[in-house]
Amino acid sequence: MAVTFSNRLSALLPALVLTTVLACITQSAFNLAAIAPLSGGINPGDIVATIWFDLRHFSLTYAPIALINLSVVALVLYVLPATRRYWLAAMIGAALLYLMLLLINAIAPMPTLIAATRSTAGLISMLLCSSAGALCYVGLVQRRVVHG
């Protein structure tokens, strides 16, 4: 059964939300992890409050990035049917985000726009968020193919 544009769009939106939420939590985790040793630890209430803050504020910056990232992933999967494999979609999502971050940092006035990506661990974590979104997208599209 053919996948319509509507099917793809309805798969893209949950993938976008998932990627953005994961990225916000990741961003919170890396900023808090950097502060914790300097402050003698962070209490659970501050951790929750920071994640909630980032979900409301960092998401506004990150959602457009994730939207472009996943849209390009969707386009690649559409144009190149051979790439419609879970592992390949995950790789494409991560690779595209990496290229986007290089471009953003080259254009932005500051050396690194997204603080979590200052470290290799943070960068890989953010790339994994993109991979998760790509996997979600492929999974939802496949499900719509199977279930109509």
Binding site: S28, S39, D54, H57, F58, Y62, P109, P111, T112
Partner: protein, 367 residues
């Protein structure tokens, strides 16, 4: 090319801000076509030395006439983004030796920091340029160099530094110079009474720590107080009273958030860390700063003036007992990013606007 305009000061006050009365002034453009001017200092004979971030040092007469314009051969000068030539200050014994100190970004794009050089002012430029300090460690990126200089009564100097942007947590690391204010002798050596001199694990040059990007500092001799301000990220710009050995909190205690909207820290204050005496959220991007001790504007006597890049204005702060009691926003009619503000020996206020067609503007009373 002197252009004069008579303008009335516009009071643009936030709800919590008061002012005594409207002070009228006139603005006179003394020099234009400056390329990102950064700092201004007055010579005893009434001339001025002016730096441009792009690496030029100019000597101007009191009316703005250019006496020379040179590109000093500063060792390893780095020019990129925020990096370049920064501040210049006269040594306390300038009358005897014509000595100056100059701050600038040095190194390469991938290995740089802030440097300090000494030199001798001559009729045609500078001679005997020697690098006397380089902040450590060398880091990547061309952001957050600090770079302001102030001399203290004992003839030592303080040099403000930045955190390098990507290295903000290092502002709390006492072993290096990132995010610190350092205190040096005029020859670059370390004063033995620095707060952490001889303490294992501490860089001996550190005077205070926990700063983000300090681009304004002066010593108020009558009040025996060292003031500085620093850029916050999104919000959290601060005015601080600097005391030897104190920790000013960045990035643990801040009212600012990341440019992306992410929270940097859950703390706005923190025990063992010094609170700011004034702050700006949203950010005004404070650049230069001066204490007005002139006679042309009696109402401004003892006020602090803070040049603001993002706010395109100058904040006039009135203090009582080392506390800010009111703020007045000035010179918004210029619609220009203001890089530096200085109190001249003639009682006028001098502004530098930040652009590739920057101006040196003199502020005098309207009458």
């Amino acid at each position: 090319m002197v252009k004069q305009a008579l303008l009335l000061a516009a009071l643009s006050l936030s709800p919590a801000v008061l002012s005594d009365k409207v002070q009228s002034y006139q603005l006179t453009v003394l020099h234009s076509q400056l390329h990102y001017p950064w700092a201004l200092v007055f010579l005893p004979d009434g001339d001025m030395l002016l730096t441009e971030r792009s690496g030029t040092l100019k000597r101007l007469s009191g009316d703005g006439t250019e006496r020379f314009s040179i590109r000093p051969q500063l060792p390893q000068l780095l020019q990129a983004s925020q990096a370049g030539l920064q501040d210049i200050a006269l040594m306390p014994d300038f009358a005897q030796n014509a000595g100056v100190v100059i701050s600038y970004a040095c190194g390469t794009l991938t290995a740089n920091n802030t440097c300090l050089a000494s030199a001798v002012l001559t009729d045609n430029g500078l001679s005997d340029i020697k690098r006397i300090f380089q902040a450590q460690p060398l880091k990547s990126g061309a952001a957050h160099f600090g770079g302001r200089i102030a001399f203290l009564p004992d003839n030592s100097l303080v040099l403000t530094l930045g955190d390098g942007f990507d290295y903000r947590e290092q502002a709390q690391n006492p072993a290096n110079h990132l995010g610190k204010i350092v205190r040096l002798n005029a020859d670059g050596s370390v004063p033995q009474d620095n707060p952490f001199a001889g303490k294992p694990g501490y860089a001996a040059e550190i005077f205070s720590l926990g700063h983000r990007n300090v681009q304004g500092i002066f010593y108020d001799a009558p009040g025996q107080t060292l003031y500085s301000h620093e850029h916050g990220p999104r919000g959290g710009d601060e005015l601080n009273i600097i005391t030897a050995g104190n920790n000013y909190g960045w990035p643990v205690a801040t009212y600012g958030i990341d440019y992306t909207g992410a929270r940097i820290s859950p703390f706005t204050t923190f025990t063992t860390m010094q609170d700011a005496i004034w702050g700006w959220t949203p950010s005004i991007a404070p650049a230069g700063m001066t204490l007005y001790r002139g006679e042309l504007f009696p109402d401004w006597q003892g006020n602090i003036f803070v040049a603001a890049l993002a706010a395109k204005s100058v904040s006039r702060l009135q203090l009582e007992n080392r506390k800010v009691v009111s703020e007045q926003v000035l010179f918004t009619e210029l619609k220009q990013r203001i890089r530096d503000v200085r109190s001249g020996p003639d009682g006028a206020l001098y502004l530098l606007t930040d652009s590739d067609n920057g101006q040196l503007i003199k502020v005098t009373p309207a009458n």
